[in-house]
Amino acid sequence: MKPAPFRYHAPKTIDEAVETLAQVAAEDGRVLAGGQSLVPIMAFRLARPGHLVDINGVAALRRLAVDGDRLSIGACVRHAAFHKPVVDGPLGRLLAAVVRHIAHYPIRTRGTFCGSVAHADPASEWCAVAAALDAEMVAKSATGTRSIAAQDFFRGIMTTALREDELLTEVRLPILPADTRFGFYEFNRRAGDFALAMALVTYRLQDGVISEPRVAVGGVEPQPRRIEQAERALAGRAPGRAAFEAAAAAVGAAVDPLDDATTSASYRRDLAQTVTRRALEQAAA
């Protein structure tokens, strides 16, 4: 399972990277960061990029820092960076809790947060995080820079709003308020496998009732998204069995699950409800 031939570029700066992309995009030029998702599909020859633009040498893309009220995650920041909280407060803890579910240890030493977002596998944990927290994706090309909101970014199975000549240079996540509660739950056949369903929830408590709920479901539909019906079912209610079951039921009713020969839509729908409820129970614990 050897990849098809490609030309290899190793830019040293962001500008060089996007210039190169501009030149090679038309010949199916792709960005190589961690390679943990791209190289396998090249091995199967499902992808045959004519060019690889290896950004691992661009020091500026390794940046991981707090900019005001945002955490900026550069394109070359590895999954492993998040094992220990990268910022004080709930966001750091949330990312550390989620990262443990991503594949396996050796994948996490190379794979990147942004790479996962750009690859947009429906079962990607970071995509679910990006959707849940309304992340901002920063895309740069030879002709300029733009910011894409999460809800506009994910367009379908392995499909994003990125143009072929654009490089996702960073993803910006909101620093969550210190009293934010969160829960994450995913179900898979074996530890480290692609999840069949996952839910990420966050909320705050105001006078004992839920405020600012976020409920995002991943692995169930072609792309992850916040489920407003579930959030409405939670807002203003006391956390507990009744509210959580209502939210889970709302998720079950709202999703249009993927259906394939191995996993049926109705089973995924069942799972979507279960993972939602369990994520909420975790948040409340």
Partner: protein, 770 residues
């Protein structure tokens, strides 16, 4: 014979195989390279069934670095891959051609072969070959009406029947009839090393070499000789390191034939290394059967008759094993129970899937699932404990040897020895069963979906009819034990060395064990069917005894001592009453036995001996499996909390290695019970073509196994009393886990299909809820 405790036999000594392997100095097929070698890449069918209208190889040929591209026309003189045991005319029309000629019958079937300077280029060239296929109807269900295989031939290859007694009468008269429909999913051994073969023709000696062989090197040599019309002695098959076999590796496949033919015709060594996707669609599949079983039972759960009709999904062709698995299934199903009347009818059917053959405990994993589900069903219907059903039906020790007029592997079944109920009792004691059972009931009352299940089975091992070794001691005292055996990673060398060293009175580390080299010994049956320890170790024992006698005879003359007064200790012959006195080493004895030696006398030159072991009966070790599972009712997920295996091995030469085999087999059985399945869409496209789809257990999913190894009943059929163990860890896993899941969810007979996937289990639970 050394008196007192055995020094090596029965000891869990460290393996001789390990030092090179932990250093990364193993020599697996992909590690073998020859100068000027070509790399072969197979072009495989992408359609499950169709007529080949055209194959266009022009673009592939034109690619720089490509030396040749073959399709079936280029090897028209090469016959289809034949059967291992010899000619079986009735099955011959269903053999697989080395390269597809007029039709393709499964996705993955070899259609063309590329020979190139480099494997990357070979794969590029394979992409450039275009196939024009006229699609034909696709058959994916062995139970459906047979379709057309070829003109005038349909896809039901044969109908197997075995039985005795009047089943119909028993069913008519029975107080109770239990009826089940049970399926085992398609899965297979999937070793971590994919297949590989290197063909090399040494023109200077007119010898064809096949490297990367495994399991049955001599058989494969003979089969190749027949197919290629060469003399067996002009083919040398070489086995080096093998990354697991499990029954899958080592059969002769089309690719093995191709590297040999290509090496001869292209005049360069030809190396073929399979990739993982290829392995999952082209190496032997196994296990898929559907059984419709009925049992006549009396009011106390005694089986009066079994009537089983089953459908064996063979895939697209009949491969080297012919009808071995489908036939054995009928013979082995009754297992450890008395079945007064029996009929098994097996439909040996072809489908448009990867061909199937043997996988560890072939026929036994499947039939143990079926038979033990039956035991559970009888127990549920009568409201009694399944183990009471087992007690009432199990053959007793005083009925041994127990003859059954059924056949498996060419022999009538005769259980040699054993106490099945006795082993069950020992297992229950080891589990502290009453306490465990009460504990699970308490947990269920508190709302947990937990349950336990058992499975009882008889295994088979020690398939003869004969094996032989040659042992040679050189003038330094180093010993070489040359066998026709094979090593797949199970510790074969260590076990043979232990036996040899015990008899010769030397350190086992001084024994070099040679295997898998057909040019070093003329005959061998390799390693499969849990036979190596029984057959090759017994031959080693016999050979070592002869060599020992030779050494002592020479020493007796040199030391002027009676033979009976001598012993061999640490490689030196000494007087038993003066162990620290005068001695003569084996190396010195070898020198005295040299052809030119003055002390040789009338003796045969050389300190060497051949040893043979013949047996006309397999041995039948037996065991029990026990599982505790916890079910997540919301997701359908199954977690195996604990597992125990009780097994009577007769005698364990190296207990650690036996346990290793059992635990390894268990992990595979676990995969078959919960995770592994080769599935297809309606177009016959295989869906499990990567390790992300074909799921095998990791350290996370595999619980510790409590192995209770017993040596209660040594086999009367060989000098060391051993029975094999290679397959016992896997046999009962499907059955035990199914039983435990039923109890956990409180639905008797819920599990009728393996693997128990979360989705399937959730469907069962939802169905019950509605």
């Amino acid at each position: 014979m050394t008196s007192g405790n055995n020094k090596w036999i029965g000891q869990s000594v460290e393996r001789l195989e390990d030092p090179p392997l932990v250093r990364g100095r193993g020599r697996f097929a992909a590690d073998i390279s020859f100068p000027h070698q070509l790399h072969m890449r197979i072009v495989r069918a992408n359609h499950a069934h169709g007529r080949i209208a055209a194959i266009d190889t022009a673009a592939a040929r034109a690619l720089p670095g490509v030396v040749a591209v073959w399709s079936s026309a280029d090897i028209a003189d090469i016959p289809p891959v034949d059967f291992r045991e010899g000619r079986i005319p009735a099955l011959e029309p269903y053999r697989q051609p080395v390269l597809a000629a007029d039709k393709v019958r499964y996705v993955g079937e070899p259609v063309a072969a590329i020979f190139a300077e480099d494997p990357y280029i070979a794969e590029d060239a394979a992409d450039l070959v275009t196939l024009e296929i006229e699609e034909l109807p696709i058959l994916l269900d062995a139970e459906a009406e047979p379709g057309e295989f070829s003109a005038g031939r349909n896809t039901e290859v044969a109908v197997i029947q075995q039985g005795y007694g009047d089943v119909e009468a028993a069913l008519r008269a029975a107080p109770m009839v239990v009826e089940l429909e049970l399926g085992i999913g398609r899965h297979s051994g999937v070793p971590l090393e994919a297949r590989g073969a290197i063909g090399r023709y040494d023109a200077s000696r007119d010898i064809l070499e096949l490297h990367g062989a495994a399991k049955v090197p001599h058989r494969n040599r003979d089969l190749l000789a027949r197919m290629l019309k060469l003399t067996p002695s002009s083919i040398h098959v070489h086995e080096s390191h093998v990354g697991g076999g499990f029954g899958i590796r080592g059969e002769l496949y089309p690719e093995d034939v191709l590297v040999c033919v290509a090496a001869m015709r292209l005049g360069r060594p030809v190396k073929w290394i399979e990739d993982r996707r290829e392995h999952l669609i082209a190496a032997n599949h196994s296990r898929q059967q559907l059984h419709r079983i009925r049992a006549a039972v009396d009011g106390e759960g005694r089986i009066l008759a079994i009537d089983d009709r089953y459908f064996h999904d063979q895939g697209a062709y009949v491969r080297t094993h012919a009808a071995r698995v489908v036939h054995m299934t009928a013979g082995i199903l009754p297992g450890p129970y008395r079945v007064p009347a029996y009929r098994a009818i097996g439909h040996f059917r072809l489908t448009n899937k990867t061909p199937a053959a043997t996988y560890r405990a072939p026929g036994r994993y499947e039939t143990t699932f079926v038979r033990e589900r039956l035991v559970d069903a009888i127990a549920a219907k009568l409201g009694i404990d399944p183990n009471d059903v087992r007690r009432r039906n199990a053959i007793a020790p005083d009925e041994m040897p127990y003859h059954r007029p059924l056949e498996a592997l060419g022999e009538e079944i005769e259980f040699d020895s054993g106490d099945y109920v006795g082993l069950l009792d020992k297992l229950l004691v080891a589990l502290d069963w009453d306490k465990l059972k009460a504990g699970l009931a308490r947990r269920r009352a508190a709302g947990e979906a937990v349950g336990a299940g058992f499975a009882m089975f008889v295994e088979k091992s020690g398939l003869g009819p004969a094996d032989g070794v040659r042992i040679e001691v050189d003038t330094s005292g180093a010993v070489e034990l040359i066998t026709g055996g094979a090593s797949l990673g199970q510790g074969f060398e260590t076990v043979m060395a232990q036996v040899c060293a015990e008899i010769l009175g030397i350190d086992y580390r001084r024994v070099r064990v040679t295997h898998g080299q057909t040019d070093r010994i003329a005959f061998g049956i390799g390693a499969h069917a849990s036979r190596a320890t029984v057959m090759t170790a017994s031959a080693t024992y016999n050979g070592a005894m002869k060599l020992r006698a030779k050494a002592i005879d020479m020493a007796a003359e040199l030391m002027q001592a009676p033979i009976a007064a001598l012993d061999i200790v640490e490689g030196k012959v000494v007087r038993k009453d003066q162990p620290l006195g005068p001695s003569i080493s084996l190396g010195e004895i070898a020198t005295h036995l040299a052809p030119t030696s003055k002390t040789l006398g009338e003796r045969e030159p050389g300190l060497s001996a051949e040893g043979w072991f013949r047996v006309d009966h397999q041995v039948y070790p037996y065991g029990l499996h026990f599982a505790v599972v916890k079910v997540d009712r919301e997701t359908g997920g199954v977690h195996v909390e604990s597992y125990a295996i009780a097994y009577d091995i007769g005698r364990a030469i190296n207990p650690a290695l036996v346990k290793g085999q059992i635990v390894g087999g268990f992990a595979q059985g676990l995969g078959g019970a919960l995770l592994e399945e080769f599935t297809y869409n309606e177009r016959g496209d295989p869906l499990a073509t990567t390790f992300a789809d074909y799921l095998m257990p990791t350290a996370r999913e595999t619980p510790k196994v409590d192995v209770i190894l017993r040596e209660d009943y040594t086999s009367p059929l060989n000098p060391l009393g051993i029975k094999g163990a290679g397959e016992s860890g896997i046999t009962g896993v499907g059955a035990a886990i199914a039983s435990a899941v039923d109890e956990a969810i409180g639905i008797p007979g819920a599990v009728t299909q393996l693997p128990v996937t979360p989705q399937r289990l959730k469907q069962i639970l939802n169905g019950r809820a509605n």
